[in-house]
């Protein structure tokens, strides 16, 4: 960990720097419909960044684009993705970027049931990554695999290596996935809804495990979730995404205490709490606009209670206020970021 810090000071570059990223659909007339619009974010070493938003906001597309794993229908239409300030991931060929996948940047997927190959042993699936990226011998890889399984809190690692995924429970499988993901000591761990498919007690254990890995290895985490509770629990900074844009970003405290964007406020209000018992659950009316429904104005305007004429015709910019707390909203602009958004 000290080494990573030293390296950070030496290079002064962010671990991951995404600048003005545009993701477009292929084979559409004109410029093509855009899936992501001008997304910028940085991840520093050892930092945990959360991305929240409803389904269809582009959270997963963002995470897939980092490793060049976009579905074939999408392409990067503009912008840059820099790793450690010197590796331009956005221009790399599939062959070049492969060296980063799993080694420098690893992903944990949502569903541990289907993300492990049911035809291969746990041992094989852990060791193949080690042998591929670190050139370990069979024996070295096996020893490291046992160590990794123990590290992620799995019992009897030696015999586990010979077992198949169907012999394990969901929580155990997610632990295996995490063991595989951290096997090469990646600098960045992208976790796309890592606990959504698990039940609540297991969820907490998996989050604890990720926290432990962050502390022990100094790994940065990009955590994608629609669960504000998990984000608040884990992250230093949060990005709120809506319809392919970042609509608000800031520290966890800022965002929770003083949301600037009505969408963030609406998301926060729709979290069920014991205090809200007996009153109907709040939800934001309407739905995320589809790609072709995105108009000229603020993309949230159609669902926003405070939308003005200007909101419907003009696109607000992401403006930064005190303490780096930024929001894409005319209302916040008018208030100078001083008053938090009501719903």
């Amino acid at each position: 960990m000290q080494m990573r810090e030293a390296a950070a000071i030496a290079t002064e570059a962010s671990l991951l720097d995404i600048r003005n990223l545009q993701i477009r659909l292929r084979r559409t007339r004109g410029a093509g419909l855009s899936v992501l619009d001008g997304v910028s974010l940085t991840v520093e070493r050892g930092e945990t960044i959360g991305i929240v938003g409803e389904s269809g906001c582009g959270k997963s597309v963002l995470s897939l684009s980092i490793l060049g794993l976009l579905p074939s229908a999408m392409r990067i239409g503009g912008g840059e993705i820099w790793y450690e300030g010197r590796h331009p991931l956005h221009t790399m060929t599939d062959r070049d970027i492969r060296a980063f996948r799993g080694k420098e940047i690893a992903m944990i997927f949502q569903d541990p049931m289907s993300s492990l190959n049911h035809g291969l042993t746990i041992g094989y699936q852990i060791t193949e990554t080690l042998r591929l990226h670190l050139g370990y011998s069979r024996k070295e890889a096996r020893e490291r695999a046992v160590w990794l399984l123990r590290k992620v809190g799995l019992p009897r690692p030696e015999s586990l290596l010979r077992e198949y995924p169907h012999q394990l429970s969901g929580g155990m499988r997610q632990r295996v996935m995490i063991a595989i993901a951290v096997s090469c000591n990646p600098g960045l761990l992208i976790a796309d809804e890592p606990t959504t498919a698990l039940d609540v007690t297991i969820q907490a254990q998996i989050l604890d495990l990720m926290r432990q890995i962050r502390e022990e290895d100094g790994t940065s985490i990009l955590l994608i979730s629609h669960d504000f509770g998990i984000i608040a629990d884990m992250c230093d900074r949060v990005l709120v995404m809506y319809a392919g844009q970042i609509v608000e970003s800031g520290t966890v405290d800022d965002l929770f205490e003083r949301p600037l964007h009505p969408y963030t406020a609406g998301l926060l209000r729709s979290i069920p709490t014991p205090a809200k018992k007996n009153s109907p659950l709040y939800s934001i009316e309407g739905h995320v606009p589809a790609l072709h429904e995105r108009g000229a104005g603020c993309r949230f305007a159609s669902r926003c209670a405070h939308a003005t004429e200007r909101c419907r015709t003009e696109q607000p910019e992401l403006v930064a206020y005190r303490g780096g707390h930024a929001a894409r909203c005319f209302l916040a602009e008018a208030e100078g970021g001083n008053r938090h958004a009501a719903v």
Binding site: L69, R101, A106, S115, G119
Partner: protein, 269 residues
């Protein structure tokens, strides 16, 4: 585990294993030398000395059908291997690459499938001198389309699976994705196709040999024996019966085995 009520699997497996054992025995022992002629004992009915009788040259029919099973298994195995190899190449290329590669390869496959199998085999064999190898090659090429289709659909199905995406996310290359991640998962459907192709191969080999274009003398073949026997149908019916029955049993056995394996797989999923 619950008892599997798969009669076709049990029946098919027993037919095939009995035939296989007979073939193995014939490698080291036959009751009489299969090519030893004995004019005095020609066209004899089954007896203690000759269990299945003798043919028009007085050769022991049991010994000859036993040795003939070697040819059947050899043709089956080699042509299935050729078909599997070709089919794997075509199927994975088409399924994995997609787009125009897929279109091109699958239409070529369709064209091959549209041709009557025996006709194509005849064509391939008659282009050059008929021999055992020619026969196996022709039958192998014929079985490429069925393998290619099964493998292509398997690749298509598994290519988009989460664990393949996860493996890509970990930096796995194309070869790893195809051979390690995808291939084992489609193996079971390929085994079914292999069993069915095996029976087709035995049948086509018999047909070609019957027509005189397959296995050439002195290699014994069930199809050739049928051909030789048909002139003596009235005089020595047992002569046709032995190779005919063996062809039927082999084809039936492998078909049942293939069906049984498919049922087993369907039950599991």
């Amino acid at each position: 585990m619950k008892r599997m009520k798969s009669y076709s699997l049990v029946l098919g497996a027993s037919f095939v294993s009995v035939l296989f054992v007979v073939m193995l025995i014939s490698l080291v022992y036959t009751p009489h030398p299969p090519n030893e002629m004995n004019i005095r004992e020609r066209l004899q009915a089954p007896s203690v000395r000759h269990w299945l009788g003798t043919d028009n040259f007085g050769r022991d029919i049991l010994s000859r059908v036993m040795v003939g099973s070697q040819t059947a298994f050899e043709v089956g195995a080699v042509s299935v291997a050729i078909g599997l190899l070709g089919g794997f190449l075509v199927g994975t290329l088409a399924g994995y690459m997609g787009k125009w590669v897929d279109e091109l390869l699958m239409r070529a496959t369709d064209a091959l499938l549209a041709f009557p199998g025996i006709l194509l085999a005849l064509l391939l064999v008659s282009i050059s001198k008929p021999s055992l190898f020619q026969t196996m090659l022709a039958i192998g090429i014929l079985s490429i389309p069925s393998f290619a289709r099964v493998i292509r659909s398997g690749v298509l199905q598994h290519k988009e699976a989460d664990y393949v995406k996860a493996a890509r996310g970990l930096g796995a290359g194309h070869a790893n994705l195809i051979f390690v991640q995808i291939a084992p998962n489609i193996a079971s459907s390929v085994v079914t196709t292999a069993a069915l192709s095996f029976s087709t191969a035995v049948l086509i080999e018999a047909a070609l040999s019957y027509l005189g274009l397959g296995v050439q003398p002195p290699d014994p073949s069930w199809g050739r024996m049928l051909n030789e026997a048909q002139s003596y149908l009235a005089k020595a019916p047992w002569f046709t019966l032995a190779p005919g029955l063996l062809i039927t049993l082999t084809v039936l056995g492998f078909n049942l085995l293939g069906d049984g394996i498919r049922d087993l797989r369907d039950k599991k999923s």
